[in-house]
Symmetry: C2
Subunit: 348 residues, 2 copies
């Protein structure tokens, strides 16, 4: 998930300003809220705010910790539901820290009148997702709010994982010369939720890519690939993810549009909905930055992983001024900006 604690241009919120939906969209407005409200209060060390999770010394080792609240609407969508999303999203945030996901907590805010059969279905989906990701849900909490004061169900999950000795995965580690890999095709989660919500039916229905990424990351580490940075392009999509990393690392990132796989059903749905697939949320793929010499080996691992048919080396890192550039087949370039405002609210 795009965490709230990622850096950008601090602009203090004006007095009287109200929270807008776009403040939750994963783009530049959310970053402004973070920089003006959360960051000054919680800044323990600056490095804590450039990632979706924190890596912390613990006894002789290091642990990673992360959290996300899930407010997706509808609660059930093709390819998943809020429960699977809440497990996989937090598992993936740990994996993106280079950590082995171990333990999850689960906090439920339930609206009065919510059907217990649906709650049971969602909890069962969490159980299955936790088993598939080899994590344990070890503690939890239940709150009930009055009818009309919630929206069915919100779930928060927090996660703890173990970071191996010597592993350091962070945007600051990205260097000119690194290869940029993408582990699969993009846009499926956002389109699946959006089409369900809007009651759209396409000739080729799109299912969310919601899936755990921990095992694939552990395979990359097991193979001795020096992972510089990992990020799952959730809210704000691939474009926002690349723009954030380029800005944090102070490098240029150049990716080739033709190398990024977008399935035909997703492309068609994006055209109908007027969306750019580069800004549509994903929940089962990730971007990896590795030294160029290790790119082919990393790619072969990604290709064999579940959902890895669309894996590709999509670009490279250059010396630069903190911008991400998209090159099309004709050689022309455009800057990838952070998502401004909201494109798809309540996507996760």
């Amino acid at each position: 998930m795009n965490g709230p604690f990622t850096p950008s241009c601090p602009l203090p919120a004006a007095a009287g300003e109200l929270v807008e939906l776009a403040h939750g969209g994963g783009g530049s407005l959310m970053q402004r809220l973070i920089d003006s409200v959360f960051r000054p209060a919680f800044a323990a060390t600056p490095a804590d705010f450039t990632h979706d999770g924190a890596v912390l010394d613990f006894g002789a080792g290091r642990l990673a910790m992360t959290t996300d609240s899930y407010v997706v609407q509808p609660l059930f969508f093709p390819g998943g539901d809020i429960g699977a999303l809440a497990v996989n999203g937090t598992v993936n945030d740990l994996a993106m820290c280079g950590a082995e996901p171990l333990f999850l907590s689960a906090g439920f805010v339930i609206e009065e009148g919510f059907p217990i059969t649906e709650l049971r279905r969602i909890v069962d989906s969490m159980r299955a997702a936790a088993a598939a990701a080899a994590v344990r849900i070890v503690t939890g909490d239940t709150k009930v709010v009055e009818r009309g004061k919630g929206d069915g169900l919100y779930i928060n999950t927090a996660g703890v994982g173990r970071v191996r000795s010597g592993v350091s995965v962070a945007p600051q580690n990205v260097r000119a010369g690194d290869a940029v890999l993408l582990s699969g095709d993009i846009g499926r989660h956002g389109i699946a939720v959006m089409s369900m919500r809007e009651g759209l039916s396409f000739e080729f229905p799109v299912a969310s890519d919601c899936a755990p990424l921990g095992a694939t990351v552990m395979q990359l580490l097991d193979a001795g690939i020096p992972l510089r940075c990992l990020r799952d392009p959730t809210r704000g999509g691939l474009a926002t993810c690349l723009a954030e990393i380029a800005a944090t690392a102070g490098v240029g990132i150049r990716v080739a549009e033709e190398a990024i796989v977008v399935s035909e059903p997703v492309r068609g749905a994006c055209e109908i909905l007027g969306l750019d697939p580069l800004y549509v949320a994903n929940e089962g793929c990730f971007v990896a930055f590795v030294p160029a010499a290790h790119a082919q080996q990393a790619l072969s691992i990604l290709c064999k992983a579940p959902g890895g048919e669309g894996a590709a080396i999509i670009g490279r890192v250059e010396a630069g001024d903190g911008r991400a550039l998209l090159e099309n087949g004709l050689g022309s370039c455009r800057v990838l900006d952070l998502l401004s405002g909201e494109q798809l609210p309540r996507i996760c």
Copy 2:
């Protein structure tokens, strides 16, 4: 906080049953929801469900993990606000595991239109509470939901702490002959929130006891007191807390009504509101079970701690059938049941 994963009599939820406010009240209905929905899905090991947090092997050591969502209404109340509550509540759940609280995550679900000045005030309160409790808020998340789909602000915090070697704090450890200590007077949090919500003004206003308990627990451990079990009587109050522990440990707990300190303002407010102070929520006191030989030493530490004026040895553990009994000054006894249904919704 009363976590969702505490044991009781499993009764499967009937098909078509809906979640009621009382399912979040911290009493027997909540336990039924947990036992019928959450527990079967998430039961990693049975021991995980008898506490508000989980203690887990991690590398060479052990960590404790806990979570709580905060939905208190109103957001600001005498003696605290949702931010201070979200930090102290999770710090206290770690402390009740016998753990040293270290790291917190914070997840915000914000309703569209929420004033940023209020958000700033709450976040600042979290910063101050974290500093006072010597914990770091290390990661977070922000979601925004549409106007009418939330209730201003919900906050989830999860926490991680370190459990010292040899420390084992759990209801199962309680033994006949143990002394029961209470660290302060009861009922202030529930009355503070309730009077604010109902617009009641009393001659002597009641402020919440919202405060961190980690330092006091560490002092008890530093003094070498063998802590058997700790529990903060939040939702459901002292009575529910004692009833739960008696049932889990399979012992009798006998406490003396006259030893339990209830301030005059709280007593007066309870009379007006028709509440039993034994069932009113607290956020800054705890119950400790220690071997009788260590009771006086533990009491002297509790008395010197902040808010410790009302600290007392309130009873003892006996062989028994899993019930908690309250003795009044005349020698008559009543069984303390779990809170049934909801007494004070949205108290935390």
